[in-house]
């Protein structure tokens, strides 16, 4: 049986491996090669000289990287705080309502990110849904909160909420009720139960949620472009400009490589820590 499983496993993994090899690993290899070539070349038959990395440092491209990382970190932290109570409710309190929330949140994911962010522009702009009606009813308007760093973080929080909510709910559902009950019986306060039982025992879910939102947000671009009006440039935006408008593949590749290595290290570290069989097999 074991030998047969081995053979069938290899065969069954083939279609996926072919797709990933040809359209994921190979293109990333090409990015890695281009990143060390002289700038503005379009063929890999060139001597590498790492000039793109120098340009990256000299021309301040690290700023957009730092901004992206900062915004991703801020958004993940805000998301953790916002999602915790709801995730707790979904895992421990709600019954039918947990299913309704799950369906509602998943359905929102099916709407193109663009349309939802555009919806926020219509909601928040001067003369938009909120300001327009407020002024109509009270005569008092307000300046549009769009086009700054805060609103970009808000957009990231909005778009990536499901990616924090579901792992958290999964993590909290793994906290045994007995442990919480015992702590309460021994006189622990609610705060002590939270900090000494819930948070440590839900740590795998917290880690997955944090990693997922951070990694996705670090590579995000649409929030900064649509809501932020490019108040700050996201690293993904710089990468796009280098590839398209700048026609500088090595620079785009070098910027990509920095982002890929950062995100990849985090993602691989996180994925290696997750016991997928345990998380997914419970159902």
């Amino acid at each position: 049986m074991k030998r047969l499983d081995g053979k069938l496993g290899t065969l069954a993994s083939l279609p996926m491996l072919v797709v990933l090899a040809l359209a994921f690993i190979a293109p990333l290899g090409l990015v890695a090669i281009f990143s060390i070539l002289p700038e503005k070349v379009f063929s890999i038959v060139n001597m590498p000289n790492f000039s793109a990395f120098k340009t990256m440092v000299n021309q301040g491209y690290y700023k957009s990287l730092l901004w992206s990382l900062f915004m991703a970190f801020a958004a993940s932290t805000i998301l953790f705080i916002i999602c915790w109570p709801l995730a707790y409710g979904m895992a421990k309190v709600f019954k039918r309502f947990a299913l309704i929330i799950t369906i509602a949140v998943v359905m929102s994911l099916f709407v193109s990110e663009n349309i939802r962010l555009f919806g926020w522009v219509l909601t928040l702009m001067k003369g938009g849904l909120i300001e327009g009606y407020l002024r109509h009813w009270t005569g008092v308007g307000f300046e549009s909160p769009l086009y700054n760093v805060g609103i970009i973080i808000f957009g990231i929080v909005y778009v990536y909420l499901p990616f924090m909510l579901f792992p958290l709910a999964q993590g909290i559902s793994m906290v045994p009720e007995d442990a919480r009950q015992a702590a309460r019986d021994l006189g622990a306060t609610r705060w002590q139960v939270l900090t000494q039982i819930d948070l440590p025992l839900a740590a795998p879910g917290i880690m997955v949620g944090y990693l997922l939102t951070f990694v996705l947000a670090a590579g995000a671009m649409a929030e900064a472009k649509i809501l932020g009006g490019r108040a700050v440039i996201a690293i993904a935006d710089d990468i796009q400009t280098a590839f398209t408008y700048g026609q500088n593949w090595p620079l785009g590749s070098a910027l990509s490589m920095v982002l890929i290595v950062l995100i990849g290290t985090l993602a691989i570290y996180g994925i290696a820590k997750i016991d997928l069989d345990k998380i997914m097999g419970r159902d």
Binding site: V31, G119, F243
Partner: protein
Amino acid sequence: MGTSRTTRIALTIYGIIIIAFLYLPLVSVAFASVSKARYLTFPIKRYSTGWFSEALASTEVRMLALTSLKIAVIVTILSMIIGFFGALAFARYQWRYRSLFQKLVLLPIFFPQTVLGLALLMWFNSLGIIPSWKTAIVAHLVWIAPIATLIVAIRAYSFDPALEEAARDMGASTPVILREITLPLLMPGIVAAGLFSFLLSWGNFPLSLFTTGADSTLPEWLYAKMVSGYSPLVPTLGILSVIGSFLLVIAALAGLAIYRALRPQK
């Protein structure tokens, strides 16, 4: 630990607020789509469904929808096939590199889509392939097939290998077992994966942007209009696309309910 009534009510209200927060922008888009004015301001003074008829009559819109649909349908079919086999390798068979395979499947999901799209653009260029809607299928697959695999895998985990072994002991060959036992048992997962694949492909923007070449999908067109010159068709098409997606989900949920009701009781 019994949760107090107050906590339960407070958490329920909190849940409703979060859901409202998720859907508020769509409410604005819906309002905007029925505003008669060419340049939108709230409160809306005159309502009209004119933009809807204009959108539905436009050949450009039809072309965009057709391109999006072609890509989504092919991505769905391929993702279901790859996801079915991938899930077996992911969850069912105990083979040597299973753990490595699981981790490899997760990587593209974590990967920034913009960077993936650009890397693919460069890759296609180097291979001498001119990007079109066909190359977008490849790009979508890299991201969507892993998600489909995960969805089918959830189903494959709850599946009892003894069923397959019993069939094998009675002399069934591997293709027969796959067709008669494995496939029907995983079918609900495969259908769910297909639904996700279709909707994610239909709504995808970052991958399409760089890999469709001269062709354009609906989300690409919407984005282009959002950043350069407003068109009153943007909210209209946006909301039409949303309604289409939601109808599909509702139809799927209804189909599931009917299937459960009609299924013979165990």
